[in-house]
Subunit: 233 residues, 4 copies
């Protein structure tokens, strides 16, 4: 299988590294359930997929599985791994490894608090304030990383030294999911209420979903998607 890679944020990515099935797998599974004749007619397949999506018959979409390699900041991973059902994860462990060097997420913009709605924020246009904020973040990262290095030099165990590292640090994990669980993920994370950073990852997942299962993706946007940032294609 050819990998599909999307770069996200300053140093992150999402890469589809393996996959089982396609639109037609959901069709086949549904035709077992409803014992319908197999079809070689793509229009009938499309109609069946729309019917399933419209009527919330989501189980046939569990037979399409995808494995992604993800690199994202810890605070994004913490939101991501809350998705339990139908999702498998293997994350790098900083307790054991010295292989990956530490990297930190430096935003290319700054969001300021919306004073009227404390769950909301908007992008800051004030270049002076932006520069000040980014400098503060960068210096804080640098300070934490230097402390971490000093602790290691003292012989402190990695698993203990890392407690000073910020949640802006990058982590990596393997994620295996299925199209049904991915649709739930997109409903929550490809949405304006999600944090900006995970929205970008969710958009990349949506793009890959569209590439590999275009009929299901189109029907999802049409009938099941409850978020507000993905556009019908």
């Amino acid at each position: 299988m050819q990998e599909i890679k999307c770069s996200i944020l300053d140093k992150g990515f999402v890469t589809l590294i393996d996959m089982m099935g396609d639109d037609f797998s959901a069709v086949k599974a549904a035709r077992v359930s409803y014992a319908k004749e197999q079809s070689s007619d793509i229009e009938r397949d499309r109609a069946l997929i729309e019917y399933l999506m419209k009527n919330k018959h989501e189980s046939p979409f569990e037979h399409i599985t995808l494995t992604f390699h993800v690199k994202c900041p810890i605070f994004v991973a913490r939101q991501w791994l809350r998705h339990r059902i139908g999702n498998s994860y293997n994350e790098i462990s900083r307790r054991y490894t010295t292989k990956y060097s530490e990297e930190f997420y430096l935003p290319d913009h700054i969001r300021v608090q919306d004073e009227e709605n404390r769950q909301s924020s908007y992008i800051c246009e004030d270049d002076n304030k932006k520069e000040q904020a980014l400098l503060l973040i960068e210096e804080s990262y640098k300070n934490a990383y230097e402390t971490y290095q000093k602790l290691l030099k003292l012989g402190i165990a990695r698993e203990m030294a890392r407690i000073v590292l910020p949640v802006g640090e990058y982590t990596q994990f393997y994620w295996t999911s299925n199209i049904r669980s991915i649709m739930h993920f997109l409903n929550l994370r490809a949405d304006g209420h999600a944090q900006y950073e995970i929205q970008l990852y969710a958009k990349a997942i949506a793009e890959i979903f569209n590439k590999v299962c275009p009929l299901s993706y189109t029907a999802f946007l049409k009938y099941s998607y409850t978020g507000n940032i993905l556009k019908e294609v």
Copy 2:
């Protein structure tokens, strides 16, 4: 992918119809977790798989997924579908379909109750008793099926008419699972305490598992298998 099909009982089967990954997928996922170097050495891969299995690090095996088409009696399906975690199912619905004709499981042997252990039974060698029992079963099936046909002729809804059909009737389903969940399935069903019929299905699943992930299967038998009917290979 080439399908792998095993015939089971008089009219049943298990067919592997799709798959994602192989032994090496578990190795890759584990190397992310432990941030170890990729290896092109099969002996190091085998050693890592044995290490994972021995230390109950089962999550890397969730990244290998398989889809099976299964045909088995209802009483077997009822035991099978109790396996919830990491398992997806789409079963034919007798409420809707007139496509599949009704078929019933006729055993090729008879098991008699062990009087000393009520959870145990053994194969009957008495040909006379066997013939009598099989005839009784066959006639009971025939009677139930004729009633079903009469009810349909009266115009009774299929979903209601079928309440007279026996649990020995065959059903079919699609099953998507991963190697971790399959190992749990085998621990419970590829075991002398499981009912004879599902043991046969479990053995077929084990055989296919061995064909597609030989390193993982061997390590599973060596370190994780708690049943008593699969032999080390």
Copy 3:
């Protein structure tokens, strides 16, 4: 805790036998998430529950758990146990027990197939046809049960003899679930597309849900319920 019991069909029931939490548990869990002040004002609690339900923040409802004792026909249990997520089951095993006597579901009505919509059926008003159909069902049950008894008398193992018993036979199970999973159950089973018999069980579950968590139930009907047989109260 006082048990709540509902009789269903001719010999079935649903009994709530244990419970953890109430409406206020979801409120407390949500206030941790959103770090809001505790409130002693039921109107603010009601508003928070409505907000959660409206915005699909369903996780706080996982902290309210219920255990039911259910007695229903096998074909109903087969639909019920398809609900995997957040659901625990312990069903009686006919392989082992001689304690419960066999009982069979005899309908008090007959449904005939809708010729225009093969997924639909309606209640038969023709008393003659009804009598004929019920007699056929009763005789088929009787025949299957007599065969079962003969097989046992021959010494055949219970697990093998029972393959002739119909899916109309009653079974029993313990079901532990949480309010979130119960809402999903109701969306699928308290709906006109579900089979009539499981609709009756779902209505009983809904009634009990309303008794023990009235704020959540009311908000569920208002904002999350996708079925069409439960009425706002």
Copy 4:
């Protein structure tokens, strides 16, 4: 229900705040499965619980549910929330709240890396080194927190300002689980391979488990526990 609270680390805790069932709930569920007579004899109940545990019949233990309020460092929460099956979580969100003040985990000891086994560490007895390390950690926390405050003062959104905060920061969550899932948690986390900090939390969970389900806990240690830090009682 009376709450049970254990203090852990310098500022953390585990509090049992609600519960459904007890040892006898598992017994009742198992007696439905095996259709055995109810018993009023505690010795027969104990024997049944030991039988279940010994033979890996873990499903009856899913009918006992517990809700905990947990306060622990983020790096501990990250290990904890990896447990998906049968576990429900609601964690405080730093995106929304200004209610909880920021608090950070200051160890009372220092662990140094075992040079021979990179997955291992031991407690440092060198008071000088310990003082140096703790001072470095404290200053790094202070620096990160000051940066966070400066960013907030600039008007930066909380969800963005917090990316500089360390994984040693405390978080809080509600955790609802059942005895089966808690046993899996203890097998992995009440074990010498787990990080020291989560071991302390796991021991507190084990203690509470023992208080509320003494028969199940004793049988668990005897037959199912695979870790190495809990002692038989």
